[in-house]
């Protein structure tokens, strides 16, 4: 079920109305269960196609309960290994070859996020964080929640459980805010991401046209443009999806966690990842970075090496997080770039702090020019590294060869500078607009005015949808 389809809008309308007709925790759980079944069912045409997912869920459910009862570390390791290996087989990672591939088509959408949820449950079960057994219905509704099935966010089970036990309380303001959030999401997906997807598809087609042999500066400019278009497309697409599911969540009594916090304000790579796909970053921080750092710290006890342990832990965490995005070689390159970005960022922080001191480093970082440049460099690195998500390995090698080291550096430098200037200009404009914004907000608070505002946004979405005959795919579904 595509998030931009009329079918999905009809589906969420039905779920919202049914939930408000049965607002008790029990009623809501029942509606959510049926909604999840219908949502997953929309991706398949036979029971066989959903059987591997069902088997995976059953296996994980049993493993979690065994780990919870035993609280044994060995059992946890066994459970994690079985879950991850089953996931790798079901996801058909390319290094497996054809040997372990199931000989029929089946549903793999949502598997990655289900894995994150079950690993979290298993680890928390072993650590005694689950005070009672996870009921089968709760387990299904948590792992296969239609709001987070495709691409997260990765909510903690405890939060989901607490949420589902509370009664549904709505008031006029909350309902309006939920509608406004959903509409905002559709604007991001249907307008911003559709426009940038159009720009990206045209630019990347020209960039990758084997017949075209543009001069190096033109090739570099096209590469930078395609990378920026894709980044904005990806952000608007994913953040829009989040707005939709968060808004719908409010209407059915679920507090779906936020996944973005204005990522383009980030002043460095590590800051960026605390603002982008936040629930994934948090998951990796909790279940990989922290334990890894702890392990390293207990093994390498020299005080001199202490600051560099985080560099290693960041590299490993971001490498794995990058590789998770896909099953082919190009995603290993992406993982390496993510790992390099994080570890170089940490190394720089360690080195500069040692050289100029914490106070001075902080003071330098607060200068507007430094902020602009830092934000530009962060965006440039991320946008260029993201190319691994839209290029395959031969295309990436070819482009790197054609651009050469100088070309790549020029792309990075040029984009950093251009983005830095654009950010500074944007900040200046928004600062000017700030006083006016208060007046606009007070006018737009009337019931009629604010609904006209929403209606205008919906008409904008319909207008852009009529320009582009194919609505953009929900891009994170593929990961």
């Amino acid at each position: 079920m595509a998030f931009t389809s009329l079918t999905f809008i009809a589906f969420i309308t039905a779920v919202v109305l049914l939930t408000s007709a049965m607002p008790s925790p029990r009623g809501r759980s029942g509606v959510l269960f049926v909604a999840n079944l219908v949502f997953i069912g929309s991706y398949v045409t036979s029971v066989e196609q959903v059987a591997p997912l069902a088997a995976f869920l059953l296996l994980c459910f049993v493993l979690i309960e065994v780990v919870r009862r035993s609280r044994s570390s060995a059992m946890l390791v066994f459970g994690l290994a079985v879950a991850v290996c089953t996931f790798i087989v079901l996801k058909k990672f390319s290094f497996l070859g054809d040997a372990l591939i199931l000989p029929f088509p089946y549903l793999i959408v949502g598997l990655s996020y289900i894995l994150f949820r079950v690993l979290h449950l298993m680890i928390d079960a072993q650590q005694g964080e689950l005070d009672r057994p996870v009921a089968p219905l709760q387990f299904f509704n948590y792992t296969c929640n239609f709001l987070a099935f495709n691409a997260g966010p990765i909510q903690r089970y405890q939060d989901h459980d607490a949420n589902s036990r509370q009664p549904l309380l709505l008031d006029e303001e909350k309902v309006y805010r939920a509608f406004a959030r959903v509409v905002k999401g559709f604007v991001k997906v249907g307008v911003v991401s559709a426009i940038f997807n159009y720009l990206f598809e045209n630019m990347s087609a020209r960039l990758l046209d084997p017949a075209a042999q543009p001069a190096l500066p033109v090739l570099g400019a096209m590469m930078v443009a395609a990378a920026v278009f894709y980044t904005v497309y990806l952000y608007a697409n994913f953040a829009g999806y989040m707005d939709i599911v968060i808004g719908v969540g409010w209407l059915i009594g679920q507090d779906v966690p936020e996944n973005f916090n204005r990522p383009f304000l980030a002043r460095n790579f590590l800051d960026f990842w605390s603002r982008w796909h936040m629930t994934l970053s948090d998951w990796f921080k909790t279940y990989l970075f922290n334990p890894l750092l702890k392990t390293l710290a207990t093994r390498i006890t020299s005080p001199k090496s202490a600051p560099y342990l985080a560099v290693i832990a960041f590299f490993v965490t971001f490498l794995i997080m990058g590789v998770w995005h896909g099953t082919t070689t190009v995603f290993v390159v992406y993982g390496l770039l993510m790992g390099a970005g994080a570890s170089i960022n940490k190394l720089w922080q360690v080195a500069i702090t040692q050289r100029v001191g914490k106070k001075r480093y902080k003071a330098i970082g607060e200068k507007p020019l430094a902020i602009g440049l830092a934000r530009g460099m962060t965006l440039a690195y991320f946008a260029l590294a993201l190319s691994c998500l839209w290029l395959d390995m031969p295309q990436l090698s070819d482009l790197v060869q054609r651009l050469g080291a100088f070309g790549l550096l020029a792309c990075y430098g040029g984009l950093s500078l251009a983005a830095g200037i654009a950010f500074l200009a944007w900040d200046a404009v928004t600062n000017l607009y700030q006083p006016m914004r208060r007046d606009v907000t007070s006018v737009s608070n009337g019931v009629i005015t604010r609904n006209l505002g929403l209606a205008l946004q919906i008409l904008l979405v319909l207008t852009v949808a009529s320009f582009f005959h194919k609505a953009p795919e929900f891009v994170y579904r593929a990961f």
């Binding site: 919202v16 109305l17 408000s20 007709a21 709505l170 008031d171 006029e172 309902v175 309006y176 509608f179 720009l199 598809e201 045209n202 630019m203 087609a205 020209r206 209407l251 019931v447 009629i448 609904n451 006209l452 929403l454 209606a455 205008l456 919906i458 008409l459 319909l462 207008t463 009529s466 320009f467 005959h469 194919k470």
Partner: protein
């Protein structure tokens, strides 16, 4: 639930109010598309509809009349070869409409024929003469032609227009009408603000878009008349068509069946069909892998079809390579002659069975 229904009602009310204002303003500021008495998809870029498929889909409403009509359908060589005004001048006693759409294959041609038929009364259909321009490129397989990344798999350009404003909905069995065809006029009026916005947005962003996508240059009639192809151009065109046809060595049966069924439907309505075997340059015919297979398949089919009452077959006109500005399109200096030849064939064609029985009654 009350709160949600109240908010939904407020939002729908606001949308209706806003859209009503937009509709009134757009109709006031930009009058509805003036497309003249005769349809010519070649003039689409000058209209509010902008593209040939959208023009054909939205403008066809006026074909529901009982006057005799000659409707030209095919690909871009039908558009360039048989200019509406020139054919109309040769056939003043009938209405000539050119609904040819560049890049069409026979599936899309069949769809255009059906779009015309679906808005016509049974009586109006009896007055149709469809002229279908045939050449090997028209028999491109649907898998090759319409299964591309820029669209939902299998959608033709006409399908895209069907879905664009929600006049049709997508079903497992293909497009199904949401708006009854007889209300097409209302639908076109209702979407007027979108047509105006689309046109305005495209006009405003034309120069920007020209940097993004490699669009074919607009070539004047003078330039077409003066065109001389060198060997490299010919190789490029041959390679283009080889790729466009999916690098196939032979054509498949399906497109020829689609042609036959399209002809059957027109005849069943009591209409006439003129099948024109479109000429292409000799170098193209000799260099194209599929031309021989096309000739091998199409000639027996045409021989068989021409025995049917209401069907006329026009063999490929004599032409020289210098009559073409590229690999398929005739130079403007020869199109008047082509129009005369077509007009003679249409005028000399048999009276359709339906018209015969109507006149006997």
């Amino acid at each position: 639930m009350k709160l949600i229904l109240k908010q939904t009602t407020l939002l729908i009310g606001a949308m209706v109010a806003l859209y009503g204002v937009a509709l009134a303003l757009s109709l006031l500021l930009v009058p509805q598309a003036q497309i003249g008495q005769r349809l010519d998809a070649g003039l689409a870029t000058q209209s509010l509809y902008m593209t040939e498929p959208k023009y054909v889909f939205l403008a066809r409403g006026q074909l529901n009349s009982t006057s005799d009509k000659v409707v030209l359908v095919g690909a871009s060589n039908m558009q360039a070869g048989f200019r509406q005004a020139q054919v109309q001048a040769q056939l003043p006693q009938v209405e000539v409409h050119n609904l040819s759409v560049g890049g069409s294959n026979i599936t899309q041609v069949g769809q255009i024929v059906d779009l015309v038929r679906e808005i016509q009364s049974p009586e109006a259909r009896r007055h149709n003469t469809f002229v279908i321009g045939l050449w090997y490129g028209l028999f491109a397989d649907d898998k090759t032609r319409w299964y591309t990344d820029d669209r939902h798999a299998g959608d033709t350009d006409i399908d895209i227009e069907r879905y664009r404003y929600g006049f049709y909905r997508r079903t497992a069995h293909g497009p199904a009408p949401v708006l009854p065809p007889e209300h097409l006029g209302w639908g076109v009026t209702l979407i007027h603000p979108y047509l105006v916005l689309d046109r305005t947005a495209r006009d405003l962003t034309r120069s920007l878009r020209s940097h993004l996508a490699a669009k074919p240059k607009v070539i004047t009639d003078e330039q077409r008349n003066a065109a001389v192809l060198n060997e490299a151009d010919k190789r490029k065109y041959l390679a283009f068509w080889r790729k466009s046809m999916g690098s196939a060595q032979t054509l498949s049966d399906a497109p020829f069946l689609v042609l036959e069924h399209t002809v059957e439907r027109i005849l069943a309505d009591g209409g006439r069909v003129v099948l024109v075997d479109m000429p292409i340059p000799v170098w193209h015919a000799q260099g194209a892998v599929l031309q021989a297979d096309y000739a091998h398949r199409v000639h027996p089919l045409l021989d068989r079809l021409q025995t049917r009452p209401g069907v006329t077959v026009v063999p490929a006109f004599d032409s020289t390579d210098d009559d073409f500005s590229d690999e398929v399109h005739p130079k403007p200096r020869v199109t008047n002659l082509w129009a005369q030849r077509l007009a003679s064939a249409v005028a000399a064609g048999p009276v359709p069975p339906a018209a015969q029985s109507a006149s006997m009654n």
